[in-house]
Symmetry: C2
Subunit: 509 residues, 2 copies
């Protein structure tokens, strides 16, 4: 009920003139019999944030539609939801160009760490000392700025996964994974040739794309994985056909990812069997590809398969997989592009595994604001220019990241995520108990949560209705709704979300 009280001032101020919308809101908040009863939660979000969603039109509204038409002359706009007024967006609330204000639990495909227009980030922008970092983008690999090592220590290295003291920044997630793969190939070949110089034949053949210079090495990935869309990454991505159709690829091994039953704690035995089956297949594939003379240089995996439908596996699965990698001399690459940055309640999702040396490479992007990857000493290329490009990241993003980390520490946001995540998952459990014909398989870690609808059509319908009621969510997999709120998502917002979802489900026929 506290959430309701807090929405009243906003209704009075902004909505009173619009009687129709006022009654619509009253209907949403009072009229539905099967209303989800939210627990009391104190509002602790920063002063600058809004109190609640506020809808003025269906989404996309007329202004968005006009802009869609304009942009449609330049680009394919089929994936665009609506146009945004980022100036007016604040915290967890995304405002569109038609003045609709939505609770955003998709956060630009999980890439906004501490909400919109966080005052701490605006301060970074308006600090005159930082102007030069924005205006003069350096070629970091040859001419870094004076404060580059300091900023790396203060930002990325201060949150380095255990065992990793080296980091390479990149401009985006795909570039991060591409270069991580390249590091694994270089490392593997150096091992194979006993760290000797490459032969003349290798140097000659690599220039014309032929072996042995361009060797037939492979990366083992998992069905349902998403590691990006550039051609190396795409060969390890197996989430949706639309990502891959018509693009040439590599003959690399693809293992099954465990299909677990949820809640995990209720299906321990069944899930362990399923994981054992997948691990056995991994080893078989490694042997098979060695026999095919396309040895597996590295294994790449997400701690939670995100685009593929929020598929979890147990710490035990990852521990055993890591051991298989070591046993067969493959590098082990944990792709934390979507799971990293605190959303699971730990800064890196793989920290939940409880391993001292969980990986050889950990890649990131999205919430980290810059792409890149950490790696062990051995994975550092032996020579300069092997891992290289013009920009190698963007120091202005490192400035923002430093400040994001300050906010995370100052406001104990990982604890908040754990608290909000528990409330969210509990709420999803309640909803699927209440609507078992519509929802199932609620699952999550921190606020990195998901729930399945009974069909893709139902999922899409729920999402569109939610959007029109001021809740903006994302989808993944075949019929999954994924929740990817920012780290400033509080219990207060959880209950807003659950109330809206509950209203829609109650209406659903």
């Amino acid at each position: 009920l506290s959430s309701l009280k807090l929405t009243q001032p906003f209704i009075i101020q902004e909505e009173l003139k619009n009687i129709y919308l006022f009654f619509t809101h009253l209907f949403i908040y009072f009229a539905l019999g099967s209303r989800y009863v939210s627990k009391t939660a104190t509002k602790t979000v920063s002063e600058f944030e809004y109190d609640a969603p506020s809808m003025k039109t269906a989404v996309p509204g007329p202004k968005s539609q006009e802009l869609l038409r304009q942009l449609g002359e330049i680009q394919n706009v089929g994936a665009i939801h609506f146009f945004c007024n980022y100036e007016e967006s604040r915290g967890n609330y995304l405002v569109d160009v038609d003045g609709n204000r939505m609770l955003d639990v998709y956060t630009q495909i999980s890439s906004i760490p501490i909400g919109y227009n966080h005052p701490a980030l605006i301060k970074v922008m308006t600090n005159p000392n930082n102007v030069s970092a924005f205006v003069n983008r350096p070629a970091l690999g040859i001419l870094p700025p004076e404060n580059f090592p300091e900023k790396l220590f203060e930002s990325l290295l201060s949150i380095a996964p255990s065992g990793m003291n080296r980091v390479q920044t990149m401009a985006c997630g795909s570039c991060s994974n591409e270069n991580a793969f390249k590091s694994m190939f270089i490392w593997y070949r150096n091992k194979e040739r006993g760290y000797a110089s490459p032969s003349e034949q290798e140097v000659g053949t690599c220039m014309i794309n032929q072996s042995p210079g361009c060797p037939d090495l492979s990366i083992l990935s998992f069905m349902g994985a998403f590691h990006g869309r550039t051609m190396g990454c795409l060969a390890t991505t197996h989430s949706k056909a639309i990502h891959k159709l018509d693009i040439p690829s590599f003959d690399w091994p693809i293992a099954p990812f465990p299909k677990l039953q949820y809640p995990l704690e209720e299906f321990v035995r069944e899930n362990a069997q399923e994981e054992a089956r997948c691990l056995e297949e991994v080893e078989d594939l490694i042997v098979k590809w060695r026999q095919k003379r396309k040895p597996v240089a590295g294994i790449v995996i997400e701690p939670i398969q995100a685009e593929g439908g929020d598929n979890h596996a147990s710490p035990d699965f990852f521990i055993k997989l890591r051991n298989i990698a070591r046993k067969h001399g493959c590098a082990f690459h944990v792709d934390e592009v979507q799971t990293g940055g605190g959303t699971t309640g730990k800064f890196w999702a793989h920290e939940h595994w409880g391993l001292d040396d969980p990986a050889d490479i950990v890649s990131f992007s999205k919430k980290l604001l810059t792409g890149g990857y950490y790696h062990r000493d051995e994975l550092q290329p032996d020579k300069p220019y092997r891992i290289f490009n013009t920009w190698m990241g963007d120091p202005s993003k490192n400035l923002f990241l430093s400040e994001v980390l300050n906010v995370i520490r100052r406001e104990n946001l990982l604890e908040e995520v754990t608290r909000s995540g528990k409330a969210l998952l509990q709420g999803l459990y309640s909803l699927q108990t209440q609507y078992p014909h519509i929802l199932s398989r609620a699952r999550g870690q921190g606020t990195f949560c998901a729930i399945d609808a009974c069909s893709d059509a139902t999922r899409d319908s729920i999402m569109l209705k939610a959007r029109n009621k001021g809740l903006f969510m994302g989808s993944c997999g075949e019929k999954t709704i994924r929740f990817r709120p920012a780290l400033v998502f509080k219990e207060y917002h959880v209950h807003q979300l659950l109330n809206i979802l509950n209203d829609i489900l109650a209406e659903h026929k």
Copy 2:
């Protein structure tokens, strides 16, 4: 002599206390007998710029060396020249952390369009209306900001190559080329299947990297080309072995790029023969790869091969190549990542060919500050999410680009580039006439110039000496010095450059 006069106030102000350096400078400017006599050139650079280089230590100086040590604990630092003080850098002058001020004709691997800390760009940063674009990076493919179409029209579309009214932004040059390649593959397969829906078999096989879903299509590239380092791009890059060694690749056709004799106008007949030979080989390869069942979906080429050693070809060569592409149903992709942005005297280097419809795709990055590519209508993917990623560029870079274009127009920088380029090339011709045992093959278009040294060791030695005298240049190919100044590089700077080079060559034994 005018350049000398202008350096005097600076010497008095900043150098007088340092008697040793003062005399060093006097030596550089007066003492050498074979001094290159520069023509009179009026200084027209903005008030904010420095007058001349100013060196305080050898490069890298002690501060750079200490920072190299620090960063070496995190990354391979073998490619780093020195650390920069970007706050103090202005216009064409890059200042390092040891207080050395160098005339920069490499400009962050050709990626700084209008010099360091241009007041117009600082104004973009400090305009409160722009804060939100920096602080809230959107997922452009799903939730663009309100002004996104307007900013695209005002920036990228205002300079679109002829025949191109569609543009897709990306975060960097490699991502631009990767996605341009993907667009060509999708376009080619849609043609092949008669624009029908993909078969079930295609949808099924693409998920496991197999044909026909992931077809054996190829991109034809040229020996000496550089199109990036992600795995798709890398399969079309053939400039240096260190870029490609140990990385798996695709069996794609590689044609010879014409090896021309310079100056082009003196070897018209010989060069035409060489170009005809290469074009014949292109057609042979297209036929051969069709027979191998790996048909060529697209041809990718740089208007001037940059990383590969500044290799030019005639407009006639490109016109015929474009016709070959059309004849065989291949898309034609002009990679302007390094040549684009005005440095050849036209905004796009391929505009020098004088063709109405020179290309199907034109990719860019670097001086454009954002990556991306223009394309014809037909090259637009038929469905959303086929060309997609989280960020799809960065609107804050579009803001800077708009302002860069304003400056280019306001200050007639393309005309300036043409003027400075002529002076630079004339100067290089003089130098190679004066030092024929050291220099040869001076060539260029606009300020996009290059000259070869007699060996890689001589080239490297000249570059290091120049750096210590305040001239920072880049290399490419095997023994080439490349000049990549910003668009604000004036005749005044040309003569500074030539004077320093001449001093070094006169000393060279």
